[in-house]
Amino acid sequence: MFRSEATGVSPPDWKQMYRALWRIRFFEAQVQRLAAAGEVPGFPHLSTGQEAVAVGVCAHLTREDSLFTSHRGHGHVLAKGCDVQATFAEIIGRAGGLCRGRGGSMHLVDAAHGVLGATGVVAGNLALAAGAAWAAQAKGHDNISVVFFGDGATGAGAFHETLNLAALWKLPLLFVCENNGYAEFTSRDEHSNVTQVSAFAAPYGIAASTIDGNDLLLVHARAGDAIAGVRRGDGPYLLECMTYRMAGHFVGDAQHYRPKEQVAALQARCPIERLKRHLIERGVAEAELDAIGEEARHEVLQAVERARAEPRPDPATVLDYVYGSPGLATQAP
């Protein structure tokens, strides 16, 4: 029914992926709503509009694969299979959140699902992901490591150091760059003469490609090929996904720096809309798709309400988890 460029990759479970897209979309909308109401500490970064990359890539990952992401990581975390309520609870700082309220939006970790961390330092996650890949390689497992980052990370030294090292050691690492044309508040052409991030790969000897990141089925297919190769031991792969941010850089950002025509055009490129049209053209009933969207919305709303009702962390525990080795915690100043 659907053309897939991948070999050895099972056909997409479009229902599950469609639901996953909506789940992220509604989740981010709730984060935005509560942030506007003052219930979200700090500054969460939304991935609205970039859902297809998260869903398409993570569809090929197992629980044991390591996922690293950036400050804009809610979508990746959900797509990897983390519990919606626990993730939201962490973002609003509840004791029962993934990280017991100690990490927040930019530092989501769920070790049980292989989400080894979001980071708030741009490019800070790249070498960590390489390290996790190295550990898998050293132990002889066929797990891989995936790291999501924005195009702004290509300005950091660590980006180049990690590409170099990953290629040298042939690490089982998939680099996924979500190129949305903006880094912080500045457009890409002011950041770099290199327009296409995938162009950085060849000098280091890394396979790469650039695709339309808002075409879920394309992302799914290309990511499937890439991941199969990485798992096989072909070495790292850099997948650049062109996409577009539909919310501002962070919640509260007034988007003064993007022309209005651009914002309207992007609505037409919404990955959920595109998948929906594609599926309807192939005979899926619109009502069924709407029902899936509605289920996802309901699931998210319930999880959010339950998360909001959870207790806040006990200040008495503030010094817990600084150290783990016995004896160090009591002695530390």
């Binding site: 961390g117 330092v121 800070g124 960590l128 390489a130 390290g131 996790a132 550990a135 660590a158 150091e161």
Partner: protein, 322 residues
Amino acid sequence: MAQTFIEIVRRALDEELARDPAVYLLGEDVAAGGAFGVTKGLAQKHGALRVRNTPISEAAIAGVATGAALRGLRPVLEIMFIDFATLALDCLVNQSAKYRYMSGGQLAVPMVVRTQAGAAGGAAAQHSQSLEAWFIHVPGLVVVAPSSPVEAYGLLKSAIRLDDPVLFIEHKRLYAMREVLPETPELPAIGKARVARAGKDVTVIAYSAMVRNALEAAAELASAGISIEVIDLRTLLPLDMATIGASISKTHRVVIAHEAVRNGGIGAEIAARIGYEMFDDLDAPVARVACPFAPIPFAPELEQALLPGTRDIVGAVRALSG
């Protein structure tokens, strides 16, 4: 048979590589033996995958070591000079130190960063610093500074077995020091200081290469009838204030000696804590012997003029005993 610091640390690494398959060494030139020869022969013995060379990429290799530790390896990363730790600071400070806490206890970073510090023979300003004070300011890190080969052997093994990230700071001038490793060497606990020499008149607190200076000062002062108690901190973070307190309640006078610059050095933290926690035991203000506020110069006369040593410890103790 006496062996050098380098040989004894190499032996500790060799034994740990053999004991625990999760231990990996990585760093610039480590497979070739490392800049000071500490890892010589280990790649040949344990394989190029267990003892791995890296490019000159401190930021990336610190990240790789951290990421691997998250996934169950126990990497021992070598950073050639502590001066270059600056390039790895984002990872060490923002990631390695904080992963356990930020993840709410889900993940640990059981890694060791071996590096060396201190001035010797004209290495000059960018290769001679003692930067340990920066790292005791970071919750989640552990900082260890051994004072001799035998101390380094036990402390390194203890550090490798710890489940928290450890910065293990060796000292250039100790690399040639010779000692005999006992049959069954002790593995001292991280976080506990030792009394290197008992005394009753003045407490001298030191670590790393300065412990040797303090012991020399002790011998010289003894012949003048002054008995100093030398405390070797061993671990700089967390500090063992209990051992320090027990000594000061006996002597009532204390000198802290370190090679690092005095301004904002570890001596300042220790002095502040002594002043607060042991106020009533003090018979004199807490004194510090340390490097004055300048980069380490190149010419030998200038370098010698700047570095604190045995003379300065003797002088400080005498000033307190007047």
